[in-house]
Amino acid sequence: MSASRIPADDSIAARLERAGVSRRNFITFCGKLMVVAPVGLAITNHLGPEAVAAEIGKAKRPSVIWLQMQDCTGCTETLLRTSQPDLADLILNVISLDYHETVMAASGHDAELALQDAMNQNDGKYVVVVEGAIPTKDQGKYLYLAGKPGLQVLNDVTSRAAAVISMGSCASWGGVASTGENPTGSTGVISLVKNKPVVNIPGCPPNPYVLLATVLEYARTGKVPALDEQNRPKFAYDRLIHDHCPRRPHFDAGRFAGEFGDDNHRNGYCLYKLGCKGPVTHAACSTRHFNEVVDAWPIGIGHPCVGCTEQGVVFTTPIHQTVDIKRPMPPDTYPAIFPEHKGVSATATGLAGVVGGALVGAGLVASRKLGNGNGNPEGESTETKE
């Protein structure tokens, strides 16, 4: 991974050719990028995978420094756990992953040297990917990297970066580490890094192709993609899971799985009653599945969405608690033209009669008393005097 081996032409196309990556694999990869970012990115806004491959091939391999903070390495796994081993190989050729604690062969002082080298050689041009939350309490003493608090490492590395990407929910807002008591004062990158463009790619884990598309878009155009109000790239986070869910017809028809393993669950019915957070979760999972395998995503395998991309939903709302439907739409049922009117029961009629009778009786008595009162000569005289 040493930069000294990179020749003059360090475009992605040249690199892939030298590395012996088959063109077929690269085209496949570009097709997957087009699936994950069908609209909203300059690099995938082309006619076919060949055109996208030509576009991406022109880009300089982006130098990526990957920092791991309070993480579970799940986000790293999602990047590397492709269903085909050569795709993982390809990914590491498309981007230049110059520092990554899990992936790199070096350790100890050699690893630290690699980090310093990468920062020096691509000063101001590299992209930092942060995985995991950053503990801030007590000068960040709850996480040390090579003898320095994680907070300080983050500041050092991002201060010379071109852009910062928060990979996963922990890096985006603090994730599971910041939930509840939050003893280490964990928080996300966005609240610590103020002077660089920060892209949040929340998810537990997020789709790795969203990260790759964002990095490659930046490498090709020098700009981060359009972001929503939570700094999530719109191309991947502008839609509700619920609105694009393959099980939506079951929801509309009112067909719900009642519990795990019942007949309705086995029939692939809607998981809303099991606590699915699809109706409040913005993510692309319902149309862009994981590990290049069709239906490899929670709802696809029969588990309700937990809302892992939404701060305030995942880790805070119980997994099997249902959520409110913000904008109810018509169901797959119809009102009848001639509705059946429910009859009034004998008891209800009797009760209404008793109440009505009591009121009439009370009225009669009251009016008699009033009549007597008016007849009282003393009362009348005081009123008329005034």
């Binding site: 929801f251 509309d252 009112g254 809303y272 409110d324 439907i325 904008r327 109810p328 739409m329 018509p330 169901p331 049922t333 119809y334 009102p335 009848a336 033209i337 001639f338 509705p339």
Partner: protein, 292 residues
């Protein structure tokens, strides 16, 4: 102030004389024709697949809240008919299990001679531009006579509001001004409901009946029914099954107004009423004077 018997009788006689001269026999009200700029909808129930795109679009463009009180409480916008939250609804004529499903779209029919306009005492409901029956809340006292008068059960009262209004389809009149179609017609994926000039829609309906006589009941609902409506319907099954209970050709206000206008012709009813009241007062006054 002091009116003696002589003066009163004089006045009554004068009024009676005027009435005899002025009044002519109460005449039946003339049948109304659609306005020259009339627009409307043509709904072909044989084309409708019941997708409810029109229901969702209507809510969106009219900014109406979802009615979540029925099916799957809270989850769906599932009105059980037209109501205070719903200006447009798709109903099922037949149970899907029992036979072929037939859908029918319900909204204001925009009658050529509307019962609601006839019943409205202050003109809150008016037949305005393009013949659209529109509602002006400033003139509404909330009597709900329009609700009672409508033969199609269309105007609905906002029972859940502190200051209730009447809710009914106004054919997206604001959208028409912007050069757009009514929401339902714009969004319909099968052109089951189309928007256009009334005359063109009527001839289109006749063309469809002539082109495929075996497909349709040979009738355009709304062509003549209840004096005619600017929303026209085609169907493969009898219209009674779609919930259209009336097919007499006389408009609702016809008899209503014939009777009322007859009574008030030449101010007859108030004069008669006040004559009687006057006579009673006169009698009582005389009695009172005698007692003293």
């Amino acid at each position: 102030m002091a009116t003696d018997r002589r003066t009163l009788l004089k006045g009554l006689a004068a009024t009676a004389a005027t009435m005899t001269v002025v009044s002519t026999p109460a005449m039946a009200r003339e049948k109304k024709n659609p306005p020259t700029d009339a627009v409307g909808l043509l709904y072909d129930s044989t084309k409708c697949v019941g997708c409810k795109a029109c229901v969702a679009k209507c809510k969106e463009v009219n900014e109406l809240p979802a009615d979540t009180r029925n099916f799957g409480k809270g989850l769906y916008d599932s009105p059980d008919g037209l109501n205070e939250f719903t200006k447009n609804v798709i109903q099922l004529a037949k149970d899907g299990d029992a036979g072929k499903a037939v859908y029918v779209k319900k909204q204001c029919m925009h009658c050529i001679d509307p019962a609601c306009v006839g019943a409205c005492m202050l003109g809150a409901l008016q037949k305005g531009k393009y013949g659209i029956v529109s509602y002006n809340v400033a003139n509404c006292v909330g009597c709900r006579y329009c609700e009672m008068a409508c033969a199609f059960n269309v105007p609905k009262y906002e029972w859940t509001k502190v200051a209730p209004k009447i809710v009914k389809c106004e054919l997206c009149k604001d959208r028409l001004e912007q050069g757009k179609q009514p929401g339902c017609a714009e969004v319909c994926p099968r052109k089951a409901v189309i928007y256009g000039k009334y005359d063109e829609l009527l001839s289109e309906a006749h063309n469809r009946l002539a082109a495929e006589p075996s497909k349709y009941v040979q009738k355009i609902y709304g062509e003549k029914d209840l004096g005619g409506t600017q929303v026209l319907y085609l169907s493969a099954i009898p219209f009674e099954k779609l919930g259209f209970r009336f097919s007499n050709e006389e408009a609702v206000p016809h008899m209503q107004q014939t009777v009322q206008h007859g009574i008030y012709k030449g101010f007859a009813a108030p004069v008669a009423l006040y004559a009687i009241l006057g006579a009673v007062m006169f009698r009582n006054r005389k009695k009172g004077a005698a007692d003293e």
